[in-house]
């Protein structure tokens, strides 16, 4: 008899995926190696993280990080339509073994799970049975046809791993629904406009693609990205609204993608265009000219933008790996732009992209960013250059290099987006009454001042 798992290929793939692309090695299979407790227990020794799966009319399994680890993850695998589901539950348990039985007790001594391999019987208490939602007909005591033990390789050795994998999808979905339901402050506008600014290749268009992909539930590349040595791929001003994949409705925010900023003068986005963009005078699909800013004479120039046309939030997009090598011209440009943004009183954040250790950025409960990350050299550096407080410096991973979506990465993208919306709400709340009511406003153009600096 061949030593191969009884799991179907799809079930195995689901399990592997859920645990974060680990690899599984089957060590023990009771129908081949004998239904003997000592045989099975022996396989646990010196193996590190293991998974044990019991097959009755349904599948019950648990993951242990090490033999005497306090926490175990319980799961089942079942098919719903064509999709395999894997409900999980994290429990604090104590392992107890006798010559016939292996059992997990709660801290108060109640038996949560036990197995008698010789009799081929397992017992699940009510709580466990209900929590991982086993089929109703399976009573708490069940016959098993097979027991398999796997070694798990590739578990990330970070704190709270077990808690993370059980809660990550849930948290991601909660964030998603929160953002879908978001309404801008006092309904002043129906959609928030977020402007993405930053050097060429810092990942502005990629951020848009990431956001869209998360809401769509599949990878999308609507904005063309990629490297082309020095020039910017994006040459048009694009105002992207995103249609939700579930409700087929437009989401309450738009992302405005711009041409990248260049190190040199006369290349990339023209800094003098920025005041016009901020005011909302630049139309969608406007072709940027690096040498010449838009003027009010341009045929599609929006002469009297209302509050809804305005940019409500500016996100400076910077590649975290290039922070230390920003040229002095780039820093000067960014500082100038930031001055302009502050003059207009627009909400602003920094978005650091291409963070490699993105899975370490968030705390175990996903609620906050780890202290160790915020004290990183690059983050401090950005905060110093632009004078933006650390809590408005957001961090995301590198979405473009992946095929499969990673819930942790999604969480970062969504958290960043949520933070942008919160900052924007503060901005809207802070707007003078006149500006919000008359729908039209004017402020002194600073473009001539800017051009003097760059001439």
């Amino acid at each position: 008899m061949a030593v191969t798992t009884k799991l179907t290929w799809n079930e195995e793939a689901c399990l592997i995926n859920q645990l974060g692309n680990v690899s599984l090695s089957l060590l023990y299979k009771s129908s081949v190696h004998g239904y003997s407790m000592s045989d099975m227990l022996q396989r646990y020794t010196c193996e590190g993280p293991t998974i044990t799966i019991y097959f009755s009319n349904s599948i019950v399994g648990f993951l242990m990080l090490e033999r005497n680890h306090k926490q175990t993850i319980w799961f089942t695998l079942r098919k719903k339509k064509d999709i395999i589901e894997m409900p999980t539950l994290l429990l604090n348990t104590v392992l107890k073994t006798t010559t016939e039985e292996l059992s997990f007790l709660s801290y108060c001594g109640e038996t949560i799970f036990s197995v008698n391999l010789k009799a081929q019987l397992i017992f699940l208490n009510h709580m466990l049975n209900a929590k991982i939602r086993l089929p109703v007909n399976s009573c708490s005591r069940a016959n098993i046809s097979e027991c398999e033990v796997f070694r798990v390789e590739g578990i990330k050795d970070n704190r709270g791993y077990l808690k993370r994998i059980t809660e990550v999808t849930q948290y991601r979905n909660k964030l998603l629904s929160d953002l879908r339901a978001y309404k801008p402050y006092a309904d002043l506008v129906s959609e928030i406009r977020i402007l993405l600014l930053g050097p060429t290749g810092s990942g502005k268009s990629s951020f848009f693609n990431s956001v869209k992909s998360v809401f769509r539930g599949r990878p999308t590349q609507q904005a063309i990205v990629g490297s082309d040595s020095t020039t910017s791929i994006t040459e048009q001003y694009r105002i992207y609204s995103i249609k939700d994949g579930v409700h087929r409705q437009y989401l309450p925010f738009m992302l405005c993608d711009t041409m990248g900023l260049h190190d040199s003068e006369g290349g990339g986005l023209c800094v003098d265009d920025i005041p016009h963009i901020l005011k909302g005078c630049v139309p969608d699909r406007y072709q940027f000219d690096p040498c010449k800013p838009i003027t009010s004479k341009h045929p599609t120039y929006i002469k009297s933008p209302s509050l809804k046309d305005r940019v409500h939030c500016v996100a400076y997009v910077l590649d975290i790996n290039s922070i230390d090598n920003l040229s002095s011209t780039m820093v000067a440009k960014l500082k100038q732009i930031h001055k302009e943004v502050i003059t207009c009183g627009i909400a602003h954040v920094v978005l650091l992209t291409k963070v490699n250790n993105y899975d370490e950025v968030l705390q175990v409960n996903f609620l906050n960013v780890n202290k160790s990350t915020t004290s990183q050299k690059q983050v401090m550096n950005v905060s110093k250059i632009l004078g933006i407080p650390i809590f408005n410096i957001l961090i995301i991973g590198n979405h473009t290099s992946k095929w499969e979506s990673d819930p942790e990465e999604d969480i970062l993208v969504l958290s960043a987006l949520r933070q942008m919306l919160r900052v924007t709400d503060d901005f809207l709340e802070d707007l003078p009454k006149e500006e919000t009511t008359c729908g039209y406003f004017y402020y002194e153009s600073t473009s001539c001042r800017l051009s003097q600096i760059y001439c």
Binding site: T4, W9, S25, L26, T45, E47, E153, R218, Q221, I224
Partner: protein
Amino acid sequence: MKGRIVFYDRTYYPFSKFDGKCVGCPTRLRSMAVTTRLTWLQKKILQNHFGDKKFSLLYKASVHGFSTQDLHNRCCNQGPIITVIYSENVVSGVYVEENYQGGTTDSIIIFVLRETEISECKANSYNLFVNYNDNAQYCINLQSGNVLIPPQIAKRLELPPGHQYSFQECEVFRCEDTVDERKIQGLIQLRDQLLLAMRVYKPSGNLVNQVKILLLGPIGAGKSSFFNSVKSVFQGYVSHQALVGDDTTGTSKNYRVYSMKDRINGASLPFVLCDSLGLGEDEEGLCVEDILSLIKGHVSDRYQFNSMKPITSSDVKYIKYPQLKDRIHCAVFVFDINSIEHLSYGMVAKIKRIRREMIKCGMLHVVLLTHVDSMKLITRGDLIDIYSCVPVKLKINAVHRNLGFSVSDILVVSNYSSEWELDAIKDILILSALRKMLWTADDFLEDFPLE
């Protein structure tokens, strides 16, 4: 040393004198991770050599103990096993093809792995793992960390003369076929799901009935083969409708818009593939001006390309006012994965120029790398999870670096060329690539200005 032991219910933990590494081990269990010492390449070479196997590490001497008993507890009745022995500067081992049950094994294969070369020889062994050296057979003594190789075998394996060789580590893997019945079942299911999804696909916003996908690429990259492969998958048997060849001038001279029928209900599929003349060096092959006409939908089916002269508005096959349904909705650059690094300077410049033009007019595009099955080291089993294969990853990064395409836009397929029968593994690659193209077309249609 006792501190390390408390994690296990064992009073005795046999540290070997040969295992210098273990002594400095921290007390954390996870640092003693049971992972192989083989490099990715070494493992891959061994797996391929013994017939596209998958290795599951069952036993590692430095973790599980240098004793025959420990090894037998874990490795008996696991099916075929391979033992790998790490000596000073050579990796050697023994492969047992039948189910290993301890005790006598009739025929074994002894091998030595040097760089990427394997030398092997068949032998007999009464007891593969022994506690004492008693005869002239090949045997491994775990207690003393020695492997005994009879002189005549050592000579055939070109090992230095000697009888016993000491080793530092010994690992045992179970060998399974990478493609077994269980996987095939799962793959067929997945293929059918994908097929169904393609059949019921509707282009975004119902703006068009059929999505038009344009295949572009150097001559002989596999554009027509990809069409043949897609057609075959939907037809249920291998088809060779488009003539395929390696002729230096390109086999497809005409522009062809291939619409395909579904085998089940005879309805047209919601996408068409447009096959063009291959891109050639310098002035040969498809000219860049023609590509722009193709994208905008000015060229109709069966137009004969002229590499010297782009199509003009006076041509009979020229469509003056193309509608949304006439134009291309997704462009695909097709390359032979093996020739990525060997593209000429002119070709790279040409592709970059085409890409530049496409970006300018907002044409979304993906890259398709073909012939992945003929790459070195890649076996049929690898095709199941091809995007995680190291050599393929390297190629994808090379495309990203040299040509500027984004990594997530690069797809990998293996076309049907000489096969008679369909293979679920290949089908899935072809269908996933097609699905990505349809998604890209959706993104394009969604982004298209309403006017």
